[in-house]
């Protein structure tokens, strides 16, 4: 965190100053480790085994927060009789189909669960199409029954609590040592520190970044941390939680108002071709029946009104048919593979640099080379715009510039300091940034670009009577412009926040209507312009406020700073402890420092009648209001595709077998792409595995940003971290003849990259039982353009995805390392072919 989020890390240092214990778990010893109280080195890709060990410790020693677990989690819920755990099936859950590599998830549900009747005509979730996997539930939490049978004594053998205990029984400290390479006494120290600092009086927080998500089991990593935090009572309470440190400024914002193919703003699912034929069937299939997701129709109709204005009327389903429909998986990697097949004519790349910044960069460039046209908008002339002349394939002779037909349009972009707008951070906090300087030359903001693009296309289509042009012509496109033609970002935020029938800013999403009288660009952001004030601009210093500091920026939803904060009080509505109080029931309403994440006047004793829906269906002691049963899920009865509970599986490529479940090596539901341009290394134990004996993990340094598009053109940053390097232990250096400061190169079946060896005691080999695992740190900031150039880490990686969210595994894979420079030119092609041949991979 100190390495990649140094500004946010100031608050960790502040906590440390006030007595907090900081524990850093990372394969590498980084700047964070340097100031942490304890650094726990771990084998890359084994965090579920580590977290599972902690879960087992908490369950075994009784260190869990019993009242919290009983009342607020689904620990008492009873599971179906046909549910089988990985303990029963040697590493698989019930429902696995080896033919398709997918699960039929129905047996994971609660007993007597009749989901169809409970939530209306939802699609049969046993046949979830691949492209809507993780996103099926939108904002609403996965659909399941609201009131399943349960045993509040937690003794029933099929209740979640007992199932969970059995599931994690084999995650012993010895197993953690065997799998992760963590000493049992270091593990015990972590377990002790964590449990001692959790409970009524104290809370602990987990912070993670892409080191956790970039795995074929990425979603289950987060699930494992969630289970641990729920057991310890660390969710919905001040100082607790799981904080996702995002990979770029405002990536949270570009998820909320998404750049994802299967989402509309506010996590509203994208409609599907042929299944959701009209507004009514779409709403019926996607509305929740409990909690604020029950009013999804109001949010959705308001969104259509924001986009299509007066053209959206009840008679035309508010222009529902103007929306594109999903007809398959259009996620990033699928799209690029389709490009390589010549199926994609055009591509916009905005503030991203896939030619070096995405796993299996060579595959990305092959896709780019088959486009008809490519638009790149960036601060600098990045590799994605120059691959056709500077790319590695030109150097090796695998591509010739003259053969590449892609027409590239490079458009210079304004930086954040050169335009107005908001950043949305980890804490869902919107903070306004004002333009400090005019952008240089022809650089323009993204807002200007899209506004102008839309304006010009609309002008060209103005006379069109073709129905397919109707959506563009009907789009509201009327933002005020400043003297330089820049649209007002403030006006855009106001549109996002929403307006009522009189055109006045709404107070929040509870004011939105399903009759077309309100308009709102993103329901979860509704209220950011309440009282006609841009709330994200607020900058009242923390020292002038209480601990919650509610008047700094604005957090969605409704300026709540801690989600599910009803859980900060006990079932009767009293704070769990004076020290950790946040909101509480004062006899007539919820009150306290934060905005209650709960219906403000629902008493703790309230029990909803059977026919209640939306907010009225939330019981007074059910804090997890986005979940169908009002509880936090230790076992996820729905919503996941690779298991209801996290299970340790090895990465796609690892040097050792799965010690926990020898029969199932890697996540059985992972998405593999067995293609010639995406070869995988042989699994451990097979003939060629020894060709790639080491582990590598990709990482960032403070001095550079992502793939370097912003930083490698900045002299002040380049001089601080001037060259591509590879971090190795003295032991590995001795083994392979590497010398500090001298060239070396890392090889995989995909490619070879070179850098200077940084031999450091900070890197330590891990000992797992009888095996020693060497891990190599590979920064991914370099590429072939810019002031500081070097090989890109993404050349090394294959594409294998987490099935829930299609994220690639970049944080753990196998490789070889050798001294000296890699072969250049055509020699590289022969060199890699030789490696693949030795590994027994077909070429």
């Amino acid at each position: 965190m100190a390495e990649a989020h140094p500004v946010g890390f100031q608050w960790v240092m502040e906590a440390k100053r006030r007595g907090a214990t900081v524990i850093h778990v990372d394969p590498r010893f980084t700047r964070t480790s340097a100031v942490a109280d304890l650094h726990v080195p771990i084998r890359a890709g084994t965090d579920i085994a580590f977290l599972g060990g902690l879960i087992r410790h908490v369950l075994d020693t009784g260190a869990y927060f019993e009242e919290y677990v009983r009342a607020y989690t689904n620990a008492p819920m009873i599971l179906r009789d046909d549910f089988c755990d990985t303990e029963d099936l040697d590493g698989l859950f019930s429902g696995f189909d080896p033919e398709t590599g997918t699960y039929d998830v129905r047996s994971w549900e609660y007993k007597d669960d009749d989901v169809g009747a409970a939530v209306g005509p939802r699609d049969d979730r046993s046949k979830v199409p691949e492209h809507e996997r993780g996103q099926i539930a939108g904002s609403g939490g996965a659909p399941t029954s609201t009131n399943p049978p349960r045993d509040d004594t937690l003794q029933h053998p099929r209740c979640v609590f007992q199932v969970l205990k059995r599931h994690f029984a084999r995650y012993t400290p010895e197993m953690v040592h065997e799998v992760c390479g963590i000493d049992p006494d270091v593990f015990a120290a972590v377990a002790e520190a964590l449990t001692r600092n959790s409970g009524r009086e104290r809370t602990s927080a987990f912070c993670y970044a892409v080191g956790w998500t970039h795995h074929t089991v990425g979603v289950q990593y987060i699930r494992a941390a969630s289970i641990l935090q729920m057991l310890l009572g660390n969710i919905g309470r001040p100082g607790g939680g799981i904080l996702a440190l995002r990979g770029h400024a405002s990536i949270q914002g570009s998820t909320d108002i998404p750049t994802l193919f299967d989402m509309l703003p506010g996590y509203i699912p994208m409609p599907h071709a042929h299944r959701e034929q009209n507004l009514e069937t779409y709403i019926a299939a996607n509305t929740g029946d409990k909690g604020f997701w029950g009013n999804m129709d109001a949010y959705f109709v308001s969104l259509l009104k924001a986009w299509f204005g007066d053209a959206a009327t009840p008679d035309n389903d508010f222009c529902f048919d103007h929306l594109p429909r999903l007809d398959g998986d259009h996620s990033s990697f699928e799209t690029v593979m389709a490009q390589a097949r010549g199926e994609v004519p055009g591509y916009f790349v905005i503030g991203e640099n896939p030619a070096i910044g995405t796993a299996n960069a060579r595959q990305q460039r092959r896709g780019l080379a088959r486009l008809e046209w490519l638009v790149v908008r960036d601060l600098n002339l990045v590799e994605t715009a120059t691959f056709w002349k500077d790319g590695p394939e030109i150097a090796t002779g695998e591509m010739r510039t003259g053969d590449i037909g892609t027409e590239v349009f490079f458009l210079p972009a304004a930086a954040h300091s050169e335009k107005d707008g908001t950043f949305t951070n980890t804490q869902r906090l919107l903070q306004w940034h004002h333009k400090a300087v005019e952008p240089p030359g022809d650089c323009r903001s993204d807002l200007w670009f899209y506004y102008e693009l839309g304006r010009r296309i609309k002008a060209r289509l103005a006379a069109s009577t073709d129905p397919r042009d109707r959506p563009l012509l009907d789009l509201t496109w009327d933002y005020p412009l400043d003297e330089s033609g820049e649209p007002s970002a403030d006006a855009v935020l106001r549109e996002i926040s929403g307006t009522d029938a009189d055109g006045k800013a709404v107070s929040g999403y509870t004011a939105l209507k399903n009759d077309g009288s309100t308009a709102c660009g993103c329901w979860i952001y509704s209220g950011v312009y309440a009282d006609e004030v841009n709330q994200s601009m607020r900058r009242r210093p923390g020292r002038e406020q209480d601990l919650v500091a509610a008047e700094w920026g604005w957090a969605w939803p409704m300026n709540r700073r801690v989600l599910y904060n009803r859980a900060s009080a006990d079932p009767d509505g009293n704070p769990w402890s004076e020290r950790k109080k946040l909101i509480w029931w004062d006899g007539s309403a919820w009150t306290g420092g934060d905005v209650p994440d709960f219906p403000a006047d629902t008493a703790p004793t309230y029990r909803p009648p059977p026919d209640a829906r939306a907010a009225e269906a939330i019981g007074g002691d059910e804090p997890f209001i986005m979940q169908a049963d009002g509880r936090a899920w230790l076992h996820a009865p729905a919503g996941l595709l690779d298991g209801p509970m996290p299970t340790h599986y090895e990465p796609q490529e690892s040097p050792v077998p799965n010690a926990l479940y020898p029969a199932v090596r890697a996540n059985p539901a992972r998405q593999e792409f067995k293609r010639p341009d995406n070869p995988y290394h042989p699994p451990p134990g097979s003939a060629g595995a020894a060709v790639f004996p080491f582990v590598f993990t990709t990482f960032r340094v403070t001095e550079h940003h992502t793939a370097g598009g912003m930083s490698r053109w900045t002299p002040y940053l380049n001089e601080l971290m001037p060259e591509m390097f590879l971090e190795v232990s003295p032991e590995l250096a001795a083994l392979r003849g590497l010398r500090n400061g001298q060239w070396c190169h890392v090889v995989t079946a995909r490619s070879a990259i070179e850098g200077k060896a940084l031999v450091t005691e900070r890197a330590k080999p891990l000992r797992l039982g009888g095996t020693t695992v060497h891990q190599i740190g590979v920064p991914w900031h370099w590429g072939f353009d810019g002031l500081s150039t070097g090989d890109a880490a993404n050349e090394l990686l294959s594409v294998t995805l987490d099935p829930n969210v299609h994220i690639m595994e970049t944080k753990a894979a196998t490789c070889d390392i050798r001294p000296g420079r890699r072969p250049h030119g055509p020699d590289l092609v022969a060199f890699l072919a030789d490696y693949r041949r030795r590994a027994g991979l077909e070429d």
């Binding site: 100190a2 140094p6 500004v7 890390f9 100031q10 240092m13 100053r17 214990t21 010893f29 700047r31 964070t32 480790s33 340097a34 100031v35 109280d37 304890l38 000493d183 006494d185 270091v186 015990a188 120290a189 972590v190 002790e192 520190a193 001692r196 340094v701 403070t702 001095e703 002299p715 002040y716 940053l717 380049n718 001089e719 601080l720 971290m721 001037p722 060259e723 390097f725 500090n740 400061g741 200077k756 060896a757 940084l758 031999v759 450091t760 005691e761 900070r762 330590k764 002031l787 500081s788």
Partner: protein, 305 residues
Amino acid sequence: MGNSWYGPLADPSGNAGYAADHPPRVGFFTDTSVCIGCKACEVACKEWNALPADGPHHDQPDLLDLTATSYDNTGALGASTYRHVAFIEQTRPRAAAATVDLGMPLPAGDATEVRWLMASDVCKHCTHAACLDVCPTGALIRTEHGTVLVQDDICNGCGYCIPACPYGVIDQRKGSREEGGGGAFKCTMCHDRLGAGLQPACATACPTESIQFGPLDELRDRAARRVETLHRSGVPEARLYGHDPDDGVGGDGAFFLLLDEPEVYGLPPDPVVTTRDLPSMWRHAAAAALTVAATVAAAFLGGRR
């Protein structure tokens, strides 16, 4: 008036002739125990002072090669580098490293643990600044804030200040006058910000308050309390460096909290203002001259006898 060459001196600005209502002496307290090595100070300093990127070698801006010395590619302070974050990797017995009681004994024995020290170095703005003392043009001055400043329009690039500095801070920038080179350069404590009531750029950018700016007296009090706190919380190796008015330079305007011996960070353990002995040298020279004169005179007088 106090001792202006050596020893404690309460008010260097007053000593330099500023009126009694001059602003208080300001300085830096750099607490290396909370430094995360982000180098924001280095970048902020170069941005504000419009310093050239001089590269890892300080004189070949285009040569971008790794020093392979931990994460330190700056190496040292220089004429275009007024802040330098040092990275020191140490391996030591694990028992010594357990700074916080985690409730369980960690394995000791032969086990070792890595420690990574980070520290942002800067001009010390000495109470007795030898660079200033030796400057023949008056380019180096004591400011009203008690800091030491090079006036680059007066500096003639003679370079006398360079060997005079006991810390090796000040340096000469290569190149012609027209290119911004020729003269001697070092940290100005952002003199052009102080007058406007702003903090220096490095202290403003530092995310963890490792670099603290303020009136020197306050900083010294704060630093003493911080050392006490660290000692109480199991960091016995915490110590201050450059805070003591009785040291060889009369105390630094920029002082440090370190977690090891100064030499580990590349700092001289016992710096002495190189002009400390000037008065006695002058006295000796004068005595010698007098002796010679007396001898000569005696010789003449004796000769007449």
